[in-house]
């Protein structure tokens, strides 16, 4: 067995880069240091694979050559008036760069899963900014750690041990020296190991964040409770926040997905910004997929905008709520879709998923999903970080290079290569 060290895991936004992988006969047989999510990916990447490109012809899938699949893809995209290219969070920056160029060429929309994940976070940042840092800053300095609407023990399992409460930093070395607070509507697994758990009424984060901000700025709250939390608790929390040496507020989809959306985020950002009058405080979004941050960055440096970019007028145009995938599909406006490394049929609300399934879909993905089942063209690809190299950005923007560990199945190439072929054909090279 051959061991490869310092492998970067390609599951969640933690992008842990200390994984040890054992290979035998071009197959991963052993994984060390990864959490259950990472282990699951490293040991199951070869299951449910699509092994041949296929095209749907009168309700039946026919296996075709890669060239034929690319031709069909190009045919669909060239004839579309308002195509959307979506996905991206589970593939490399290199693939997305090509995707943006394709979207620009065909005058379509390029969007990524941020749209239905931390899109509201980005909109909040665009409204008021954010005081943030890389995760090592939290590891080394933070004596107050808050998880709000986020359950890392289930979604980012090594977050605490690598970066926050259970990590060993230069200035803060032990768990005892840190206070951990969890705010959530349920007593989650993460809440269970916190020093303080604040159970909040659903859909009232905005109120609680505003009340905290008010208390931090020395206001006196006149109600007895806000969001189901007694005022004494709120004032105690505000005091902890002001008197810490370095506070870090990490938040997840509890804030972005509940009613209030980006306003919830603005309230959280404003609270942290105000706290910087009294002490050092940062806010970090818990990004889900391993390269959704890369997707935002690539899209942003090429177009100026981090997601939901519409090229139909020949230049980049951004208007979330109008150019975001959920809205474009709900309006029934797009007439073709290229989906890369994503499963929107599974993760969009059902009426949208149904509408999406009615237009020709091209899906590039390694394994079977509901989206591949309803697509017109399916092109299998390799896994970045396992079967091909690529660059990805951690949730805090730290860029890492993912390794190739094993060869992909015969005839399977990377997203990047497939997209290059599509681009080349579209350009008539």
């Amino acid at each position: 067995m051959k061991t490869i060290n310092n492998v970067v895991c390609s599951f969640c936004g933690c992008l842990c880069d200390d994984i040890e992988v054992g290979i035998e006969n071009n197959k991963i047989v052993k994984v060390k240091n990864a959490c259950s999510l990472g282990i699951s990916k490293f040991l199951n990447y070869d299951k449910h694979r699509i092994l041949k490109p296929r095209i749907r012809k009168s309700n039946e899938f026919i296996n075709v050559s890669l060239e034929e699949a690319i031709d069909e893809c190009v045919e669909i995209l060239s004839n579309a008036s308002y195509p959307i290219i979506y996905g991206w969070s589970n593939t490399s920056n290199e693939a997305l760069r090509i995707g943006v160029e394709i979207a620009e060429l065909i005058g379509g929309v390029i969007d990524n899963t941020t749209s239905v994940c931390h899109g509201p976070t980005i909109i909040g940042v665009q409204d008021i900014g954010e005081s943030t840092s890389t995760l090592g800053q939290v590891k080394n300095r933070a004596d107050l750690i808050i998880y709000w609407g986020s359950n890392p023990l289930h979604a980012h399992p090594r977050h605490l041990s690598r970066y926050t409460a259970l990590s060993k930093g230069r200035f803060v070395k032990t768990r005892k020296e840190r206070k951990v607070i969890v705010v959530d509507v349920r007593k989650t697994a993460t809440a269970n190991i916190a020093d303080i758990f604040i159970q909040i009424k659903p859909n009232s984060d905005y109120e609680l964040l505003s009340a905290l901000r008010y208390a931090v700025n020395n206001g006196e709250i006149e109600q007895d409770e806000v969001a189901g939390v007694p005022v004494e608790k709120i004032e105690e929390l505000a005091e902890m926040m002001i008197s810490c040496k370095f506070g870090a507020l990490m938040f997840g989809l509890g804030l972005t997905m509940s009613p209030g959306k980006h306003r919830n985020i603005e309230a959280a950002i404003a609270l942290v910004t105000d706290l910087n009058k009294y002490t050092k405080f940062v806010i970090l979004p818990m990004r889900g997929h391993y390269n959704v941050t890369g997707a935002n960055n690539v899209t942003c440096w090429i177009t100026g905008y981090p997601f939901a970019v519409d090229f139909s007028k020949g230049y980049p145009y951004y208007n979330p709520g109008e150019t975001t995938i959920a809205d474009i599909i709900a309006r029934g406006e797009c007439d073709a879709a290229l989906i890369v490394a994503s499963d929107p049929i599974s993760h969009l609300p059902i009426e949208s998923a149904k509408k999406l399934s009615k237009i020709p879909i091209i899906t590039i993905d390694p394994h079977e999903t509901p989206t591949t089942k309803v697509s017109k063209v399916v092109i299998p690809s390799s896994y970045v970080g396992i079967e091909c190299e690529g660059t990805a950005y951690r949730m805090d923007g730290v860029p890492l290079r993912l390794k190739k560990i094993v060869d992909p199945p015969d005839g399977i190439v990377s997203d990047e290569e497939i997209l290059k072929m599509i681009l080349s054909k579209l350009r008539g090279d």
């Binding site: 969640c12 959920a326 149904k354 309803v374």
Partner: protein
């Protein structure tokens, strides 16, 4: 019948089983479920493991009720991300780009005889071409 606030979200089972494969038996067992607070199970008069029907303004689905290990959260139902969860969600984003995946009002009924559709059956029922 009970009224709840519905939360859809991530959990470990959802993360690990999607790597195993969305059409695997494991995926359906782990994801076509709804986590309820023990008191809510009592109100419904059922045990963990029995089928329930969840209904919102946007749709309905039959899944298996499970006693939550992340309680207390009386009045809140948790379904992991999946097509089963999304059958209950509306498409409107209120111009934010983001549909509402958490904090939706729902009604839960016992559905002892109800059948949980597997992914292939679900796709057949909801999407014309399969």
């Amino acid at each position: 019948m009970i009224k709840v606030i519905l939360i859809t979200g991530r959990n470990l089972e959802q993360g690990t089983s999607k790597s195993i494969g969305k059409f695997s038996k494991e995926y359906m067992e782990k994801l076509a479920i709804c986590e309820l607070d023990p008191e809510d199970l009592k109100s419904l008069g059922i045990e963990s493991g029995q089928n329930i029907k969840i209904k919102t303004n946007y749709g309905e689905v039959i899944v298996k009720a499970i006693e939550s290990k992340q309680a207390p959260h009386k009045g809140i139902a948790f379904i992991p991300y999946s097509i089963w969860a999304n059958l209950l969600l509306g498409s409107s984003t209120n111009s934010s780009g983001m549909p509402t995946f958490k904090g939706i009002e729902a009604i839960i009924d016992v559905a002892k005889e109800g059948k949980i559709l597997d992914l292939n059956e679900l796709l057949k029922e909801k999407f014309e071409m399969i």
